[in-house]
């Protein structure tokens, strides 16, 4: 049953959404470029020698921020905004009476966008290496594979968190404002602005109990070759997915009872 769903519905959804995303290739290139915050942060860190306080070399730090850029490129989620717009415009209604949860559409949209984004991210990485040739490295295949898995799990966590927030549209029409609240801890605690290891020990112990460090910090450390607990990180990612998925299902089933099909 599940394999049938993946083979037919998801594959067709992916194919169609990829064709759709190719129509927006210029926008996607711009989106990719707009994700270069980690490179600014790298500049701030290296110019102020902040890495010395956490015993990370310049090279490892630049690899970390490049990997943070890559992880962010392939885990960025905007489902709350799409769902909110579709919900307010009444576009969700036809999806709701089809035998496929509408979130599969958004899921395929994100995957298709990531595939479209991939070459642009590679071009940005190419320029990064031109300006930082000492940072060039080739991760071994098993690390590369685990990093891809971990980045996908990070995407799943963020997709589930945002989908849960998106479902709040059934109660409050502007769920995206709640997402903006979540953006603050995501920005500061995920490792996008600074590796989590740079936080004071008592703060770190709390941060690791939240899903945020597993969004960017863990996969970026894994890919860049920095010291990290691979099995612990992957387990925490899976644990968060297992916690969030039933929550999403519950809020979805309760929310659809509240749906008023406005705008349609």
């Amino acid at each position: 049953m599940i394999s049938k769903l993946i083979n037919r519905k998801i594959f067709t959804l992916l194919k169609v959404q990829y064709s759709n995303m190719l129509e927006y290739r210029v926008e996607i290139a711009l989106w990719a470029i707009s994700g270069i915050i980690p490179f600014f942060m790298l500049n701030i860190w290296t110019n102020n020698n902040l890495n010395e306080s956490i015993n990370i070399s310049d090279v490892m730090l630049s690899r970390y921020f490049l990997c943070a850029f890559f992880v962010r490129q392939f885990s960025v989620v905007w489902v709350v905004f799409s769902f909110e717009e579709d919900s307010l415009m009444g576009k969700v209604s036809p999806y709701l009476i089809q035998p496929l949860n509408p979130f599969f559409r958004y899921f395929a949209q994100h995957l298709a966008e990531q595939i479209t984004r991939f070459p642009f991210a590679l071009i940005i990485a190419f320029f990064f290496f031109i300006f930082n040739p000492e940072s060039i490295w080739i991760p071994n295949l098993s690390i590369l594979f685990l990093s891809i898995v971990s980045t996908f799990l990070s995407f799943l966590i963020q997709f589930l968190i945002q989908s849960i927030v998106a479902c709040l549209c059934f109660w409050t029409e502007k769920a995206s404002s709640i997402e903006r609240l979540l953006f603050i801890p995501t920005l500061f605690l995920s490792g996008l602005l600074a590796p989590v290891v740079s936080f004071p020990a008592y703060v770190k112990s709390w941060i690791y109990l939240t899903p945020f460090p597993y969004l960017i910090d863990f996969p970026a450390n894994l890919l860049s070759g920095n010291e990290t607990n691979i099995s612990g990180g992957l387990s925490m990612q899976i644990l968060w997915i297992l916690l969030l998925f039933p929550l999403f299902k519950k809020i979805w089933s309760e929310g659809t009872k509240k749906y008023t099909a406005m705008g349609s």
Partner: protein, 332 residues
């Protein structure tokens, strides 16, 4: 052949929580600190049954509750009270087999992917409804020929005209060959030819598949050419449920006949006879005759008066139906 009830609605009600705000700054501040919401009952204890293969029109003024009824029938919104059974399923549970049996088309609301040709959305819908590629291809071919859009399949949706888009929406919504169609103003915004073609298509689809169609429309031509039965909704309650022609007869029991006499004397003679005269200008006289005595009255007029010409004026159907929309109850 006795046809079974495919839709069974009993004592159905729906309430929405509506927040209200007084105008002005004071009202805004008051609204900010304390929202006033009240429960508004938009559907009030309605019951009806629809047989398999029937085409039923839902009539009512804006905000009467027609669309809310359709949304509950297709499972889009949850009823507050009462029960609905559609094809043996509780719609709001949205079971896969139920969803494969129905479709909802809302005029001006689109599910087609804007930047891609409609064929991409058709194949996507086909896979969502578990149709294999061969089956999907043959259904797209058949429906696109019926809808006469086979040439537009490969043009991006954004480049299609409204009529072509509406037809494509219809194809996307019918690709899984549902046997219950919920159509909410399907001809909204279409030109006269496109409206006629769509009606012809729906008649054909109903005839070929014995599909049940529930339709709302503000274009009376949609209702009169498609529906034998209408359900009139007034302020959330059913004011009439029955045959359309019976309703029209009841609402319009007399016909107006314009008679052009050869001379003014004849017109005066006619005006002084037993007929009800609406007006008289020189040799032209308009009289009112009850529907059930039209033949005998006309025979009488033609035999006893020197008539040059004669016109029977049917009252405009929009005018008749308009009466339904503002009246609470029709005892027919």
């Amino acid at each position: 052949m006795v046809q079974k009830n495919i839709i069974d609605v009993r004592n159905l009600s729906k309430s929405f929580d509506i927040s209200s705000k007084e105008p002005g700054l004071k009202g805004t501040i008051k609204h900010f600190f304390k929202r006033q919401t009240k429960s508004l009952k938009v559907i009030k204890d309605i019951s009806f049954k629809i047989k398999e293969g029937e085409i039923v029109g839902f009539l009512g003024a804006n905000g009467a509750g027609k669309t809310t009824i359709l949304k509950m029938l297709c499972g889009l919104i949850y009823p507050s009270e009462g029960s609905i059974l559609v094809s043996g399923y509780l719609p709001f549970r949205r079971k896969e087999n139920f969803l494969k049996n129905i479709t909802l088309i809302m005029g001006q609301k689109q599910q087609l992917i804007w930047d891609l040709p409609p064929i991409e959305s058709f194949y996507l819908n086909a896979s969502i409804y578990d149709l294999d590629k061969f089956e999907a291809k043959s259904r797209i071919k058949k429906l696109s020929e019926m809808l006469e859009i086979d040439k537009e399949l490969f043009i991006p949706v954004r480049k299609l005209s409204l009529g072509q888009r509406m037809k494509s929406e219809l194809l996307a919504a019918l690709i899984h060959e549902p046997n219950i169609l919920f159509l909410d103003e399907p001809t909204l915004g279409l030109d006269i030819n496109a409206q006629r073609n769509l009606r012809k298509f729906l008649q054909k689809y109903n005839k070929e598949t014995n599909a049940t169609i529930c339709l709302t429309s503000h274009y009376m031509k949609d209702i009169t050419s498609l529906c034998k039965r209408v359900i009139c909704v007034h302020e959330g309650a059913i004011s009439y449920d029955g045959k359309l022609d019976l309703l029209l007869k009841k609402l319009s029991p007399v016909k107006e006949i314009l008679i052009v006499c050869r001379s003014e004397e004849d017109a005066i003679k006619l005006a002084n006879s037993s007929f009800t005269v609406k007006n008289k200008i020189k040799n032209e006289i308009t009289i009112k005759i009850e529907n059930n005595s039209i033949t005998s009255s006309l025979k009488n007029i033609l035999n006893n008066f020197d008539i040059e010409d004669l016109f029977i004026n049917e009252p405009p159907i929009d005018e008749i139906i308009g009466k339904v929309l503002i009246k609470k109850d029709y005892d027919i």
